[in-house]
Symmetry: C2
Subunit: 170 residues, 2 copies
DNA sequence: CATAGATTGTAAGTATACTGTCAATTAACA
DNA sequence: TGTTAATTGACAGTATACTTACAATCTATG
């Protein structure tokens, strides 16, 4: 019994923990994205917002936050920045004075077209160190896990529910 | 040729992209961690810092940032918060007036012992929706990918290099 | 139609995460 | 030894991410 006063855990256990690997991978992914897209001055979240608004023109902020699984409170400032860059427009909804509808501007659509090759390079680089079969396996498992854990992280609405009155005109 | 003015990408492509899945999984992981550990008022990063200081007593802030792959600038405020909670102590290094050495306090060691079961519950919950074999496969691939991508995200020092003069007394 | 409850956007407050910059200090070198 | 270079910690500034709170507005109900 030679000392050993505090043996609860070591940093090596942290390195192998899912939470640590998820955080580290997210750091790396953002870093690669920003590097590939530095010519465009768009963050990953701003990019996702642009794509979502492009796919669902006239969406409002609350539904947008559900569609891109993005915190509702923070989204306000993201929208502000995109509006300041003139990539999106906010228009009041005629039938509901609370809601502001979001639309891509011409330059928003243009930047989206231009940035896509860089984004695809970034996505490819994130997985590049793995063999193709392993990339597929990892993405498959991760997509599955995110889907099954979807309820764990609080999002105001499920993406599908959020869009019932959009796009399909009903 | 019926219209189709902007077909560059849709939100479904974003959902399948690695960057989106990594971000979403990180959100979920943090959410689960905070839920399991809410009785302790410790964030995942603060927890990792405590473990690292416990494993490497007398580490300085720059090396700590390398050990837990944590941004050096942000670490200052993390250390401040841990110091304010009296979980760690900062002592000036005798041989180098720039450096402040970090040590766990008694209550820091105590909270670390107490929180570990909650942390382990959280880590287990993150992977719970997958079959055991899939959990193993996912963690293996992710550990591999993080390791091979380590250079992509800027960290001042590699964890191993950061510790050469610590612990082993040389 | 009046009121309670829900929804929308906004804001305040905390905590990462990153980019820069800076002064104090130490190390390297001419 | 004296100047330069590197290191350390601190700070300012931007951008997520989350919690709670709040006013304006809409909906549901009596």
């Amino acid at each position: 019994m030679p000392s050993k006063p505090l043996p609860p855990i070591t940093i090596d256990a942290v390195y192998a923990a899912p939470g640590y690997l998820f955080r580290r991978m997210q750091q790396i992914a953002v870093s690669i994205f920003m590097e590939e897209c530095k010519a465009f001055d768009l963050t990953p979240v701003q990019y996702a917002a642009l794509v979502a608004i492009h796919t669902h023109p006239g969406i409002d902020a609350t539904r947008l936050s559900a569609v891109i699984a993005f915190d509702r409170s923070t989204l306000g400032s993201v929208i502000e920045r995109l509006e300041a860059k003139a990539y999106i427009e906010r228009k009041p909804a005629p039938e509901d004075k609370r809601i502001k509808l979001l639309y891509l501007t011409k330059s928003g659509a243009a930047i989206l077209r231009e940035i896509i090759p860089a984004v695809e390079r970034a996505q490819a680089r994130m997985l590049e160190p793995l063999k193709p079969a392993d990339r597929k396996a990892l993405m498959g498992l991760l997509a599955q896990l995110v889907d099954l854990n979807n309820e764990a992280s609080r999002v105001p609405l499920r993406a599908e529910d959020a869009l019932e009155h959009l796009g399909k005109g009903g």
